[in-house]
Amino acid sequence: MLLRLEGVSKTYGSGVRAVDGLDLQVQPGEIFGFLGPNGAGKSTTIKMIVGILTPDEGSIEVDGIDALEQPIEAKRRLGYVPDEAQLWEKITGLEYLSFLCDVYGVPYEERRLRALELLETFEMLQAVNEPIGTYSRGMRQKIAVIGSLMHRPKIWILDEPMVGLDPRSSFMLKEMMRSHTEQGGSVFFSTHVLEVAERLCDRVGIIHKGKLLTVNTVEEMKHLFAQEGDKSLEEIFLLITEAQLPEEQLASLAR
């Protein structure tokens, strides 16, 4: 198991539990889509996995390492792309990548080769020596994606990664996610684009009001809802998160 969350909870102001007793596992070679409406707890969960927030309860394991006990070791195995990349405006893309390589301890001789491969894929080679402050939103997202892969992480975590990307880059990103898992890594990403999740994910989890309602393959989920006709993931998502499903059905989904 590359990622394991057990009983993870986080409470924010107003006493609202943003994440409530979340259990989750992500296998090697798997793309896991994390779905949920706005404010469902997706970003909070991701921030707890990558060590930005500390859970109030529960445990998080990254590649067999307790992320709460050994956060530095756990972080070394993660690559993270935030939903809105806060990058330093005054440094160039290359300086940003170089900083990340230093922090993750990427051997010097590997840096150039790795960067070339990623920069070419995302058509960022021309811009890499320019200050990040001059980048468009999409370019910032691309450099954040590239930065997250420089150290070849085992688990790649992306929060709404498609936002701001042009169709080509979006396509390339999806290809890279697939290629990452083919090399034994796993991908955990949140998205609102259900079509992407439907086509790309090996399994999807739907979180709503802090609770993980279901974790299944898209096919299994469709099968579960087969009695209600041939449904797309979007329709199932709406059914689960908007309709008041009976408690028994919710319980069966959670199982």
Binding site: S14, I72, L97, Y104, R111, R112
Partner: protein
């Protein structure tokens, strides 16, 4: 492709902490951002020359005056056999300055930086993130310390004529920020941890910051206060070699050790003093950073404000709670926005209020420190015809000179940061927007004016007529001064910052704007001085200076309007 790939030259590999330090310094002190703002493209060298030129223009006369003052002081105290007292004065003033300028800077750098989330997701231990932020703050504060305390060290070294003074002298100067930064970090870490879940955390933090600052001023005053010694005791202290050193460092031995290090009576005392001074300074800072790092992330965690859980409410109740504030004109809305942006950000509010407090506190301590004698002397002087009028005009001048210190107007546009696009797209003309900023800055500077009026009433016993004149001229002079500051900020706004403090204290432009406003006040002072020398009646001096301020205010406002129209489109 080949050309581009050839330009892909990675800088040499560094250790994570060294790389983090380099990044933080680059982000804080990069010249390329300033070059961009000034429309100079990538001409970083030009910006560097401009900065040095401006600094030289502004600081050389200032440091010259300071050196002259410290030179007289050093000569006198070395002559009296009390050279250590100069070291004490230099260290103490440097450290108070670091607390004053560094507290809110550290709070902002450690807890409001927009890169905190990015850094926390990286495999970096908390102490490294903390230490990198503190290092940048240390360097910034050190520049100020060198500027203020440097002349004291220099003049003392010249008068001591001892070659062995210089090396420990430089190190003593460089270590001045250690203790005040350690104190600030400790207080901030405790404050942030224990207020992280309070709904009123911002106010608690601002008030605590002000209380801490006031406490440190009182502590320093008590530490160095000599009025408790009778004339005989005082003479006795003066008779002893460095006798004043022990008396002026009774609660705070760091000062004594610093004085021993540079002016000790024997080599062993010098070595012991230096080891104690350097060891304790560095030790305390390291200890505080390693101790408070456990609280660092806890205090920095965002979104942990806990509010009492509300009972279930009806739709009607919810609608009732959703009461919109009453409609305002565009100008009023802009004014309210200015106010909210300032008071809802503890960094901005604390900076502005501390800047307002500094002079009144110095004046109050000066008055109290002078004891009854000062009151009697003032009473005697104010009886002389014309003295009260001159004092009133000086108070107006002081108000004009320190109005820009609050940095409200000189950072009014910069504070908007990355949200400036909102100001660009709203259907409110830039003229109205900058005028709202101007009016708000004037209103804020009125707080300072009121403090000066209170001081004038207590110390100078100003009558009602003069109080009204002081209020009138004070409000009037704050118009052109704030307009000048706004003019500079609109022209060279610093909108790309990673923590809010960079828009105010870390904004070099606020200093340039202040210096420009000082030039204006100096010119005004020159005119008033000439009028007094020509024997013009004070009532006429009030009228003439009022008219000049009014005319210049009008000119500066028109200029501001024009620049705002242009710059809001360009930025």
């Amino acid at each position: 492709m080949s050309n581009s790939s050839e330009s892909l030259n990675f800088p040499r590999a560094r250790k994570p902490f060294s790389s983090l330090l380099k990044l933080q310094f680059k982000v804080s002190y990069s010249l390329s951002g300033t070059a961009e703002r000034m429309g100079l493209g990538s001409k970083k060298k030009v910006v560097l020359y401009l900065y040095f030129g401006l600094l030289a223009l502004a600081l050389i006369p200032f440091m010259g005056v300071l050196f002259k003052f410290s030179n007289v002081l050093s000569e006198a105290f070395v002559g009296m056999g009390q050279p250590g007292f100069v070291v004490i004065l230099a260290i103490m003033s440097g450290q108070v300055m670091v607390i004053f300028f560094g507290f809110s800077q550290l709070m902002s750098a450690l807890y409001d930086s927009s890169d905190l989330e990015t850094l926390r997701a990286l495999p970096l231990p908390p102490w490294q993130i903390m230490a990198s932020k503190i290092s940048v703050a240390y360097f910034t504060e050190l520049l100020g310390v060198i500027m203020f305390a440097g002349p004291f060290f220099l003049s003392l070294g010249i008068h001591l004529k001892d070659m062995s003074y210089w090396v420990p002298g430089v190190f003593t100067l460089l270590l001045i920020p250690c203790i005040p930064i350690a104190i600030s970090v400790l207080i901030i870490a405790i404050l942030m941890k224990f207020t992280a879940r309070s709904p009123k955390k911002d106010w608690i933090r601002v008030l605590s910051g002000l209380v801490v600052f006031a406490f440190i001023m009182v502590f320093n005053y008590l530490n160095i206060n000599m009025t408790q010694y009778g004339p005989e005791q005082f003479v006795q202290l003066l008779m002893e070699n460095n006798g004043l050193v022990a008396a002026a460092s009774k609660f705070y031995p760091i000062l004594k050790w610093g004085a021993w290090a540079l002016t000790g009576t024997s080599l062993s005392q010098k070595v012991l003093g230096f080891l104690l001074y350097a060891g304790v300074s560095i030790g305390v800072l390291v200890l505080v950073v390693s101790f408070s790092q456990r609280w660092f992330f806890e205090g920095a965690t965002t979104g942990t404000v806990s509010v009492k859980k509300k009972e279930r409410v009806t739709v009607e109740q919810q609608e009732g709670e959703l009461a919109w504030p009453k409609a305002k004109s565009a100008f009023e809305a802009m004014l309210v926005k200015e106010h909210r942006l300032l008071v809802r950000n503890p960094t901005y509010l604390m900076t502005a209020l501390m800047n307002l407090m500094i002079l009144p506190i110095i004046l109050v301590f000066g008055y109290i420190g002078g004891g009854g004698d000062l009151g009697e002397s003032l009473a005697a002087i104010t009886g002389i015809p014309g003295v009260l009028d001159i004092a009133l005009l000086i108070l107006v001048g002081i108000h004009g000179a320190i109005t820009a210190m609050s940095q409200i107007s000189s950072s009014a546009v910069s504070r908007e940061g990355q949200t400036f696009w909102i100001s660009k797209i709203i259907p409110v003309s830039p003229v109205i927007q900058v005028r709202a900023k101007l009016v708000y800055s004037i209103l804020f500077s009125c707080i300072q004016l009121l403090i000066l009026v209170v001081i004038g009433v207590i110390a100078l016993k100003l009558d009602v007529f003069r109080i009204l004149i002081l209020l009138f001229l004070g409000v009037l002079v704050s118009v052109p001064v704030n307009a000048i500051c706004l003019l500079y900020d609109v022209s060279f706004a610093k909108l790309d910052w990673t923590d809010p403090q960079q828009a105010m204290k870390g904004n070099f432009g606020t200093m340039v704007a202040w210096l420009l406003s000082l030039l204006y006040v100096a010119a005004l002072g020159g005119i008033v001085y000439s009028l007094i020398r020509w024997g013009v009646a004070y009532s006429w001096i009030y009228c003439v200076s009022g008219a000049i301020i009014l005319a210049s205010a009008y000119a500066f406002i028109r200029w501001l309007d024009n620049v705002a129209e242009r710059r809001y489109a360009e930025i």
